[in-house]
Amino acid sequence: MLQRFLDPATLAAISGLDLVAKTVVDGFVAGLHRSPDFGFSQEFAEYRAYSEGDDLRHVDWNVFARTDRCFLKRYRGETNTQALVLLDTSASMSYGSHSVTKLDFARFLAASLCYMGNLQRDAMGLIVFDEDVANYIPPSTRQGQIFRLLHAIEKAEPGTRTDFAKPFFHFQNFLHRRGLVIVLSDFYEDPEKIIKTVEPLRFKGNEVVLFHILDPQEIAPKFREPVLLVDMEQPTASLEVSPEYARRDYKRKIDAHIEALSSQARSHGLDYFLMNTGRPLDEGLREYLFIRQGRM
């Protein structure tokens, strides 16, 4: 198996998002193309009893001839999925302790997912939000959809603060079909509130994946001397933090937050995956796909 661990800093040096997505995805597509279950699509074939109101075009008449009962038949090739990427561009996403910010990393990740979905002819869509919906690309398989998506991702700029409630309530209206919803965010919110906000998507039959994007400094801060921290979403709020506190208390809290978010997400049938921006993007993405593949 060919493995290429692409440093986010290396990806940042590539000018176009299409090239970034191609660079990331081509690697492991080439390595995984033999897999029959590759992809995000729900390739699902079923027979179900006819019920009143069903389209008679889907009745399997052969089965009716043998059993005298009407069953509806669905072929795999007919089941292309719809995927919607929700990209958080709140101010906190612009943080980065190295050359690649969380937003950059999220853009690379969103572009890669869109590119990968496009390869599978899935209908990929995009919603860029912070405390409100900043941009919306409806899912589509039309020609040129990928370029619209990449353009929208590239154009995404850090906004204000994160407010999950308002944009999620808003774009629930955009989801008319069941599909895959991928949320890319740092989730600086109460896990319960996040789950409570995201959970309705699940109720509509969507599969929801939460990519928790965090900087290494956010996961395990290393301050050697007291620093004055300024909240990027609330510039007026600042705190002088001692290294000891960051090393002990903060670490404990962020770990608890990640654990709570992870456990609650799983308990509500949501996929959760922590993406460390310090790790190579393809490595993280591959790890996630393996986990997902194993579960399916």
């Binding site: 943080y95 301050f223 001397e225 007291p226």
Partner: protein, 668 residues
């Protein structure tokens, strides 16, 4: 503890720098954006206090560094007690005074016993040296650890007639110290006479390595009488006018009467009494002394009854001789000069010369060598034969006096010496009334005794070119008045005027007699020394012409002082004891020298204790006289100890500071 330069403590203001850096300077934290502060709490906020705690070690190091640097510059010192013990290689020097005063009351025996006791107390292997000193220092033993040798040196110290000289002892101690480069512990046994101290205290200084311990033999002044001085003629030519004057001195005495006896050649001549006042002096005069021909030994003795009998006798020598003849050659027309010359010689007291007067016509059969000296009184010219004889006489060592007058002008030359006359200096009415002698060479024997010629009026003087002669006197117009011309071994004095009362009024002045007397003695080689000399004086045994001739010297005990080799080579001799020394020279009359101990030794007053302490303090290693050997408080500078600590602190500060600096880099 003290500080040599305490004003450097102003540098403590530098402590303000680390205080400002660590405590007062506000830490300006650069605001660091962070994604969210939802996991940070307000009450855990970092504080300056925390930062202070973190850099406390660095702050302490820097503050201590500055304090110690300032402390080092202030040069701290501590009073350290220095124990004067175990001076490596120390030599014990025993110095015993054997001067005349140590004869009093068995002082020398006491000193020797004390010194022997000290030697007996030395540890085996300790080295020592024995010195005896009076006016000179005698090394009685070499530096040795053989204590029997040291004891033998002490026992061989003999009393002497020399006077005490502590300066000479100090000089010798300095020489020993500089030669050995070892510390000396000097034990001085002496009666510590005040008169033995030098006039310049600096002469007593000791080197740093010399420790002086003084052991005074006698601490109190004792009464003492002494014949301090005797004035008597060295040479007499008749016994009529011989008188002897003796001075009797009393030191720390009550008023007393002492009997004074004059003896000659061991025979008592006359006895008188002297009333000596309290700590004063009395004079006794003996008016008649019948002196036989030849060398005579005179003594003046007192019956003092004190503890020091050796200064009760004063020796003097007196010689009875026939007057010597001098030739006076003059012009028959001018006899006044002879009159004044004779009168002057007679007036001088002892007439050592008899003048034989002749005119120039009577000189044909005369032999100049028979005369002590010759006087040519304005003779103009001499018969050629006699002039040649006189010239030879002078060249062989004879002397003559030539006076110039009108006859010298007529012949335009000075006989015998062949000096040319250049004219006559007159004091006429039209100018100065007379000439004066304004320039006198007081070192010349003729003028040495009396140089008061200011009132002498010279009316006529003959100008003579000196031609290399010594001008002993000049007139106010620059005319040489007295010229000393050496011819061969002899001397010729040319007086540019006459000895009569015509060309000048010199014979009528009081300075004329001493001039004639001294000139006669000078020309007649009548060099009279004092009737006695002090112990320690030197006498010349021979001149350059007598090289190789044996000179015999017999000391007061009748022993020959010089060995055979020394008798032919010794240039001089030092008289070391009181009494009569007889010096026998070849081709010269014998000489009898009376030698007396220095009468400063008779004053037994001891040196004050304060002066002794000062002397001991001239050496760093000395302790107080008679005091116990105690440690001294001496400042010991400790600044370099402080600098070592400063160096260690600087290293520690660098290490700690570098550690913090690297942390900051990592955090940044």
């Amino acid at each position: 503890m003290g500080f040599l330069t305490p004003w450097f403590f102003a540098g403590l203001l530098g402590i303000g720098l680390p205080i400002w850096l660590h405590l007062l300077r506000k830490h300006r934290s650069t605001p660091t954006p962070f994604s969210s502060l939802m996991f940070f709490e307000q009450h855990i906020q970092s504080s300056i206090k925390h930062r202070r705690l973190r850099y406390l070690i660095l702050f302490a190091l820097r503050t201590l560094l500055i304090i110690l640097v300032v402390l080092a510059f202030a040069q701290p010192y501590v009073q350290q007690r220095v124990l004067p013990l175990t001076r490596t290689g120390e030599i014990t020097v025993v110095a015993v005074d054997n001067s005349l005063s140590m004869r009093a009351g068995g002082r020398l025996d006491q000193a020797r016993r004390a010194a022997s006791s000290l030697i007996g107390g030395l540890h085996p292997g300790e080295r020592g040296q024995v010195l005896a000193f009076g006016s000179r220092v005698q090394v009685m033993s070499e530096i040795t650890d053989d204590h029997s040798t040291l004891n033998a040196g002490i026992n061989s110290i003999e009393p002497s007639d020399a006077r005490t000289s502590y300066a000479e002892l100090a000089r010798s101690l300095r020489s020993i110290s500089q030669a050995t480069h070892l510390p000396l512990e000097v034990h001085l046994y002496s009666d510590m006479q005040q008169t033995g101290m030098p006039t310049n205290f600096n002469d007593l200084r000791l080197d740093a390595g010399v420790k002086l311990q003084i052991h005074p033999i006698e601490s109190k002044a004792q009464p003492n009488f002494a014949v301090e001085n005797v004035v008597a003629p060295r040479r007499v030519y008749d016994s009529k006018n011989t008188r002897v004057l003796a001075t009797i001195a009393g030191f720390d005495n009550q008023k007393a009467t002492r009997r004074v006896t004059l003896s000659l050649n061991g025979r008592m001549v006359e006895t008188k009494t002297a009333d000596v006042p309290e700590s004063g002096r009395a004079s006794v005069e003996f008016l008649s002394l019948d002196v036989p021909y030849g060398l005579n030994r005179g003594e003046v003795r007192i019956d003092s009854g004190d503890s020091l009998p050796d200064d009760d006798t004063f020796f003097f020598s007196v010689e009875r001789a026939e007057p010597r003849h001098a030739l006076f050659v003059h012009d028959s027309q001018n006899p006044e000069a002879l009159l004044y010359l004779n009168a002057a010689l007679v007036s001088s007291g002892q007439s050592a010369f008899v003048i034989d007067s002749v005119t120039t016509d009577q000189t044909a059969n005369l032999a100049p060598s028979k005369y002590a000296f010759i006087v040519l009184s304005d003779v103009g010219s001499l018969p050629p034969g006699f002039e040649n004889q006189v010239r030879e006489y002078v060249r062989a060592g004879g002397s003559m006096l030539i006076t110039l007058g009108k006859n010298a002008v007529a012949h335009n030359r000075v006989p015998v010496v062949d000096l040319k006359t250049q004219g006559v200096a007159y004091a006429g009415r039209e100018s100065e009334r007379f000439l004066s002698a304004i320039s006198l060479d007081t070192s010349h024997p003729s003028i040495q005794k009396d140089n008061r010629w200011d009132d002498v009026k010279f009316y006529q003087a003959i100008r003579v070119t000196p031609a290399g002669g010594r001008v002993a006197a000049s007139l106010s117009d620059g005319t040489p008045l007295l010229i000393d011309q050496q011819i061969g071994e002899g001397h010729v004095l040319v007086f540019a005027s006459t000895l009569d009362n015509i060309a000048n009024d010199f014979p009528k002045h009081y300075s004329f007699v001493p001039f004639i007397e001294q000139t006669a003695r000078y020309l007649g080689h009548l060099n009279e020394g004092p009737p006695s000399v002090a112990v320690g004086s030197f006498a010349e045994l021979r001149d350059s012409k007598q090289k190789g001739a044996a000179v015999d010297v017999v000391d007061p005990k009748g022993k020959r002082v010089l060995s055979l080799e020394e008798a032919t080579k010794a240039q001089n001799i030092q008289f070391t004891e009181g009494g009569f020394y007889e010096i026998r020279r070849p081709n010269a009359p014998n000489e009898l020298v009376a030698v007396n101990a220095d009468r400063r030794e008779s004053d037994l007053t001891p040196v004050p204790q304060e002066t002794l302490s000062l002397w001991q303090n001239t050496a760093e290693g000395s302790s107080a006289a008679g005091g116990a050997v105690e440690g001294q408080q001496r400042p010991l500078s400790v600044w370099w100890y402080v600098m070592i600590v400063v160096l260690a602190l600087a290293v520690a500060e660098s290490l700690v500071g570098n550690r913090y600096l690297s942390v900051d880099k990592e955090a940044a």
